[in-house]
């Protein structure tokens, strides 16, 4: 934290954090990614600390969403995608040939840019991860539903209409429902891809409060365009630019005393 600890590569990345420390839950190692011929990630190397909120910031197209979607292998759906390097979740290489993608995704929750509740009831939405996991125990499902909805600060608003369609909720409620769904199966890592970009300021504030509450309980990786948001909710921040990780450290350092001139320019609003 005090000094920039350099690990082997890449040469121009500035680290304020020790990679692969004892608290790391995710270790991203030399990750490069190509969409067809276009390279989107260039040897990204970083580790995510357990129980903290890590923000990925950077201008549009810098690869931060791509990186996030590599973590739960959502990019597998894209045709013509090629990946080099590795990502380790608690030491296991998730891109190993023998890795079970479905089991991997069960260990992670993901919240998307736009709320995407399923066309089912609120209850069915929340317990969906358990349902696909084969849980049929009604008491357990109901208990999980309440816990997840409380965790997403939504319980009091919806407890009387759990059997109504989730599509009748407001956008902010829908997004919190998606968060409830993401935490229902007790994931090890919660991935959030610009969760507030489709929401109004009040709903955004609620989600940010929620992220603060979730920190500590869950490891959160959040992609955001909004620098104030990153500053408000995250413990660590990674700045990415043109597919490269430029600077990675605790949020305070990145925002107040960044080493890289590019980071400096971005966080002070000179470009991006």
């Amino acid at each position: 934290m005090d000094s920039a600890v350099r690990i082997d590569t890449p040469a121009d990345t500035v680290y304020h954090l020790k990679a692969g420390g004892a608290g790391a839950i995710l270790a991203i190692n030399e990750l490069s990614l190509w969409y067809g011929a276009a390279q989107a990630l260039h040897g990204v190397q970083m580790s995510v600390e357990k129980g903290l909120v890590t923000a990925l910031i950077g201008p549009s197209g810098c690869g931060k969403s791509t990186l996030l979607r590599c973590i739960n292998r959502m990019n597998d759906l894209v045709d013509g995608l090629r990946i080099e390097g590795e990502i380790r979740l608690n030491g296991e290489d998730i891109y190993h040939k023998s890795a079970d993608v479905i089991a991997l995704r069960k260990r992670m929750g993901m919240v998307f840019q736009k709320p995407n509740p399923f066309p089912m009831t609120i209850y069915e939405n929340v317990v969906y991860p358990l349902k696909v996991d084969g849980v049929r125990d009604k008491a357990l499902l109901e208990e999980t539903c309440e816990r997840a909805l409380r965790g997403a600060a939504l319980w009091n608003e919806v407890k009387d209409r759990l059997d109504q369609s989730a599509l009748g909720m407001s956008g902010g409620q829908q997004q919190r429902l998606c968060i409830a769904r993401a935490i229902a199966a007790d994931p090890e890592v919660l991935l959030m891809d610009e969760p507030c970009s489709a929401l109004d300021p009040i709903a955004t504030a609620k989600i940010e409060d929620l992220i603060n509450d979730l920190a500590g309980q869950y490891t959160v990786v959040i992609v955001t365009h909004n620098m104030q948001q990153a500053a408000r909710v995250s413990d660590n921040t990674a700045f990415m630019y043109l597919g490269r990780l430029i600077e990675y450290g605790d949020t305070e350092t990145i925002f107040q005393t960044p080493k890289s001139p590019k980071t400096q320019d971005y966080v002070t609003g000179r470009f991006g």
Partner: protein, 576 residues
Amino acid sequence: MTDSYIPRGQAASAENTAGRRTDLRSRGEPALWSLGGALALGIIMILGFLALVFSNGIATFIPKPIAVVTETGGQVTAGEPFRSESFRPTVEEVATLPPDWQARIKSAGGMVNRTLYRMGNFDVYGEDFRWVADYAVAKREFPANMVFVERMEWGPFIGTVKALTIDGNAQPFKSIEDPVFLQAHQQALDRADDIRDIERGRIGDINHRLENERLALRKVELAEGRTSAAYRDAQDRLNTLSVTLQRDYDALAAEVTKLREASARNTLTLAAVGGEEKTIEFAALVRIYPANDLGFWGKVGVYLSRWGEFLGGEPREANTEGGVFPAIFGTAAMTLLMVLVVAPFGVITALYLREYAKQGRLVSFVRISVNNLAGVPSIVYGVFGLGFFAYVLGGSIDALFYPERLPSPTFGTGGLLWSALTLALLTVPVVIVATEEALAAVPRSMREGSLACGASKWQTIKYIVLPRAMPGVMTGVILAMARGAGEVAPLMLVGVVKLAPELPIDGIFPFVHLERSFMHLGFHIFDVGFQSRNAEAGKPMVFVTTVLLIALVTIVNAAAIILRSRLKRRFAGSQF
């Protein structure tokens, strides 16, 4: 850039005050006229067609008055005025007419009106219809004592009631509302029903049991040979059974004979206008009414009772009269069976093509081929269905499971199952294309959301994609159903017949007989309109059956559309 802000609603007037008009061509107005015109033309054609079909179809069963026309030559014709048209009489014919008619015809440009009368009495005159030109009419009356008699055989009789015999005793005929007559008629109809029940039901049952036993014997013969003990046993069983059944049959036959004798003692003697008399049994009398002496409610009664007979009864007189219930039943059963086949088959195919197959040249080729299948003439499917389904598949089934029935085919000929399969093949491209589009329209965010929850691809498809695509799938199934229900050409080859003795579903084990041939409304229209003895007599039935077929397709589609909109409503609040 405009200097000042013009509110939306005032923009047009502001433009006018500026004195500038946008060029007509750039506004696309002429294009709009042709677009609207094309739509209007389409609607007019469809509405015109529907109006023609419905007006004719609805009016067919209205009882018409009977005119008695005396011609100048002395010939008397009694019949329903069927239709009128103007025609050009030959010069020789005009020359024989009185001068005032000659003048009238001349002034009308050589044309004169004539009317077609439906005379009935085919057994007396040898023809059903007769044209009478206006100039030949000496007198036209509508006598109140004329009756219109619908008979089981020989078509309608038009004439007067001469005499009445009830239970062998001649009775004075008072009127058609006479309770004695009505009661006797009802009894006769009940007796006819009894006879039918015995002949079709109980005697049919006996034949069925005998046939089963004979088939069992044949089976044993095929399996064990003629010399085996089992064969002898079976033969003994058959012999014993045929003795008992023969006894049962004789008893039933005697009963039928008795009923027939009773029937023969109740007769009605009718006289045509020319004086020719006909005596018919009450049992052969479907309906009798005084056509010119019928009040409003009387007409309504006849009208409704004719519709009832049409919808619920069986055809008579080479399908030109009676009901079409077997055809309605056959159409519905075949369409339902087709949907049961085509819906899962099409959806599964589309699922694989869209969700699992690697999108490449091969899949594109398959997709194009599927689309092209929709354009293959339907008769080709009929030929394929007959060749492959009936002869190859059905023939193999017969050889494997029904060897005792050969050489008479069971599945090896056209039938309900093969018809449904042929039509399923015909309509499957529609379902595939619609389903593929529906699947493609499921938002990516939904799939990703589900996958991110740890669902497998199959779970995602099952819980998220398919329910979401259901309205689109339904659209495909509706289109397939509409096409299938109205298709006739291939069915003529693979199982539809003019007259099916039995319904494909009945009380005889195994209750659903997929191998049976069946009747179909579409084919019925073709048959009645173009294959019957008298095209003129069949024409009204063509319209009525068409109305019925359109109504049936509409009802089925409406039900499916309601179901689809219910499904759709579930996704109404979706943000995508």
